[in-house]
Symmetry: C2
Subunit: 224 residues, 2 copies
């Protein structure tokens, strides 16, 4: 029984990787930077996207793919800013996969887009296993979650190109050991960029925006 | 392909439910109340267990089963208080299942136990689908996660017998709409008990302890 399940999982992961490559070719043809944003529930995925939209929408054509088990609250929030948004409801599924993204891309006007944010389902485990065709993986840790999370969810912290420490305004009230956290990341993923921000106050957001600007520029230059 | 996967999932869930019933019979024979604690990463599962141990260990024989993707940090924390603890590492799995619990029960001295806490893997999605043989399901929402979570993770909020609102000391700093949250729970799960606590300061913990005392007493009375 156990072997049977593992076999199916391997099939799923293999098929997913193939589809993810197809998604990426399609995005590259349009010179679109695509960023997969992953985090626990309530860590600030939508807030980070909304802050980025607020600051960059005059210079960059942004679209958003929202993943949730249920509801379309986040897509509505994004749409209210005049930004194209597609909501994926996984109906119990704990992560997005490349097939869902392929369908979502069909709903977007790719020739009018420079940057796509994919907001994954709130979960620190399975989203790290499923490539979507994105160019960059960004994970958010909300400071109230605690400094020990890299030890408990090592794959997510290892796979991320960028780690955002959100709710930085709460730091003085928390028992968060920043040197211990940075030491854990240095061991797991020394190349990861770390940005400390508060999506509520806007503190620290400029360094993240500069990173987005830089990566969007590189992708657009790669256009055929 | 899709149908094949669903079939396997149904097999898994069916087999799990059978095993969960066996676990519960075994626990009932020993008059042990078993509580499955579920939450997002860093919401305060270990902190709630540690607060409960601190207050109840003189009157109740407690044991803990810790579930994590990786590490044994939580089992070590519990063990340091002189409480028997078994660590389950799921190696990438995003929830505990009844088979894992059956093996963990083998490692505990059931005749010397009144109350078992099972700390599930940090995840608001899949743990709600897998019965473990527990008598009560408790979920913790950390207030910084936001008041919209019942809409996004409805199964977890529907299944819980108790909903703990943790990190209540941070409420004045947060944009958490308590009436909206309570309205959502009234719609999804009107029988759920809601306790507001701060596991860091101890605020509000007494009402939770009274609930644990009451349920442990009922279970012990059911002993043959």
């Amino acid at each position: 029984m156990a072997i049977k399940v593992i076999k199916v999982l391997e099939d799923i992961l293999g098929a997913n990787t193939e589809l993810a490559k197809e998604n990426q070719s399609r995005l590259d043809k349009h010179g679109i930077l695509t960023v997969n944003i992953m985090a626990s529930p309530g860590a600030g995925k939508t807030s980070l996207i909304m802050q980025t939209i607020k600051h960059l929408k005059q210079e960059t054509r942004i679209a958003v793919i929202e993943g949730d088990v249920a509801s379309s609250l986040d897509a509505e929030t994004v749409n209210a800013q005049g930004i194209p948004a597609v909501q994926i409801n996984t109906a119990g599924g704990c992560h997005l996969d490349a097939n869902m993204i392929a369908k979502a891309l069909d709903e977007l006007s790719l020739e009018d887009t420079d940057l796509i944010f994919i907001e994954n389902v709130g979960n620190l485990i399975c989203p790290a296993e499923f490539d979507l065709g994105e160019h960059k993986k960004v994970m958010i840790l909300s400071l109230p979650e605690g400094d020990d999370k890299p030890h408990k969810y090592p794959l997510m912290f290892s796979e991320a190109d960028v780690i955002i420490l959100n709710k930085y305004d709460l730091l003085p009230l928390l028992d968060f050991d920043m040197p211990a956290f940075r030491k854990a990341i240095a061991g797991l993923n020394p190349k990861a960029k770390i940005f400390s921000v508060s999506c509520q106050t806007g503190e620290g957001i400029e360094a993240w925006l500069d990173w987005v600007r830089g990566e969007t520029g590189k992708t657009n230059q790669r256009l055929p």
